[in-house]
């Protein structure tokens, strides 16, 4: 167990600790919550980043299982357990490794409720981490949430800070639909405000993390912190940037988006996935349709370059959307 979870309410907490706390709490609440994944048990150090540390010691090796490197078997086992009422939390170490178990996620976890006519459902949470910045190159750090958002029957959740990771994880575990829960690896150890213990953050609801009247910046996952930084910087120039953290990427909170952009008439969408055919396209399309003729500027998108994640540091840095790019996009829509 990370030390954070044993103290009453720490002053700050990072995402590793926050997710750990949520899992600990969920396992304590419900014996149907189990954890599966590579290296997740304590004998294997509780996950490569320590997110599941302490859980196997506390809840036993039957409920917290380190698995072989067999992603199809991991998700398959989780699905089978889920359809008979367990609430598995399965880890796919890196988001890219969903490529070796897409069938299980997309054809089974996401579709079984529908195909069975509602007789079975899959209350499964898939935890996965990703994000460029650590020089892990082309196959270890891409954001692939658009694939899952395009798949009916699975929710996609991407917290931007430790407290949200905690509250959203609890909601995912106790949600009756499969959820893909995306953790940003480079931000794992960034400290944040602690969550209210036991408080679940609703899925499908966005969060206004900065209020402003001039432009709406919409993001999710780690890069929300860059959006905030830009908002704070521009606030000094009296530019009011409203930052909307989606929290849930699919289904996303269209109402909150339209309310905000309806007010600001300007929108910038920011994500770390490559821009073309990314989540930003859907959001932009919905904004454009709902607010047709009412926008002051075309919706801007800020995403990664259209290429695999490059290794070399200067390339990797240029690949990931920067605060400068976000700021430039904000200034573009303000022109």
């Amino acid at each position: 167990m990370s030390t954070a979870t044993s103290t009453a309410k720490p002053n700050t907490l990072n995402t590793v600790q926050a997710v750990n706390m949520a899992l600990d709490e969920a396992m304590g609440l419900d014996p149907n919550v189990i954890v599966l994944g590579e290296d997740v048990a304590d004998e294997q150090e509780g996950g490569i980043a320590g997110v599941t540390k302490g859980l196997s010691t506390k809840y036993g090796k039957s409920r917290v299982r380190s698995t072989p490197i067999s992603e199809q078997a991991i998700i398959g086992a989780a699905i089978g357990a889920a359809i008979v009422g367990m609430r598995p939390v399965a880890e796919i170490m890196l988001m890219n490794f969903t490529t070796v178990c897409m069938d299980m996620i997309v054809n089974h976890a996401a579709k079984l409720r529908f195909m069975s006519g509602g007789q079975t459902h899959v209350p499964l949470t898939i935890r996965t981490m990703t994000g460029a910045g650590f020089g892990t190159g082309g196959q270890h750090s891409d954001y692939l949430e658009a694939w899952f958002a395009h798949t009916a029957g699975i929710k996609v959740v991407a917290p931007s800070c430790p407290a949200d990771a905690y509250g959203l994880m609890l909601s995912c575990v106790f949600d009756d639909d499969p959820c893909l829960f995306i953790e940003n690896m480079p931000a794992y150890w960034a400290p944040g405000a602690p969550p209210e213990k036991g408080v679940r953050i609703p899925l499908g609801k966005a969060n206004i993390v900065r209020s402003g009247g001039d432009v709406t910046v919409i993001g999710y996952s780690r890069i929300v912190s860059d959006c905030i930084a830009v908002a704070d910087k521009l606030a000094k120039e009296k530019i009011g940037v409203e930052v909307l953290d989606l929290r849930t990427v699919s289904p996303f909170d269209e109402e909150a988006i339209l309310n905000s952009v309806g007010k600001t008439r300007r929108a910038v969408i920011v994500h770390e996935a490559v821009t073309p055919f990314g989540v930003g396209a859907e959001i932009a399309t919905r904004i454009n349709k709902a607010l047709f003729g009412k926008l002051a500027a075309p919706v801007e998108r800020v995403g990664a370059s259209y290429c695999p994640v490059p290794f070399s540091k200067p390339l990797e840095t240029a690949f990931v959307p920067s605060q400068a790019q976000i700021e430039a996009a904000v200034r573009t829509v303000l022109k």
Partner: protein, 321 residues
Amino acid sequence: MKSVYVDIYRRMTLIKQNDERFRAVIKLGRIISPYYPVRGQEAIPAAVSANLTNDDYICTIYRGVHDMLAKGVPMRALWAEIAGKATGTCKGKGGPMHVTHPATGVMVTTGIVGSSMPIANGLALAAQIRGEKRVAVAYFGDGASNIGAFHESLNMASLWKLPVLFVCQNNGYGEHTRYELATSAAKISDRAAGYQMAGVTVDGNDPLAVYAAAKEAVERARSGGGPTLIEARTFRFFGHLLGDADNYMKKGEKEAAMANDPVPKFRAWLIANGHATEADLAAMEAGIEKEIDAAVEFALSSPNPDVAELRRDVFAHELSA
């Protein structure tokens, strides 16, 4: 013991007669559905299921009506599902490749080759964690033994001693491709050794052999001894998909298999060995035939699902229109 044999025969007959009727009704165009015939493979799920209760789980595949019927899925709901009706097991939304019927333990039917296995592990895992005595059966074909999911599943099941049976219905072909051209093992059960798992090849047309192998495997699973790979050799009498020409088959192969039809053979054995009389079995068969009549009638006269069903069961909450 007598009752078990007769019970197996009952399940085989259920399968045989339903398959015959499915093919007939579909050929007449009264139901439009892709259909993967199961005639010839009756003995396998019939004999396996005789070792199972409603508490036990199965995961099966597109070619699965035999597995479902043997496990006890009610005929009317099955027929209605294949007819795409609102009264089907899955309200018509799943169809023949995705029949689910939790009450009888039919938890997943998948159209993806190999994918019954990883999920069966999960069913077994839940039973293991909860300390229940249930077992899970994964049915799959010979072709499926060459896909990655097979390997991952057997390895995990063996490591964790999951109460699961991997039942390979080796009918000699995967679609149009003959076993030897696709599978590098002389026997699929040879692969069990690579997982330190019990593995056995049996004559899948011999209900007694399948029954004995399944009994041993179910006992092993229930007592914590872990999984078993059972390869049951059989043949599909009507090709891959109803309507196929089967030109890829060896000359005479199908005819030879049909001449060795497991159903009448077992019937004759039951009578010859005094397990049942001709009259008993004829009555049973006639009873099943009547049930099928009723199921077909039920399916054909049932209403279609409402188009609003497109918005239901995507998530727990209904989508807005």
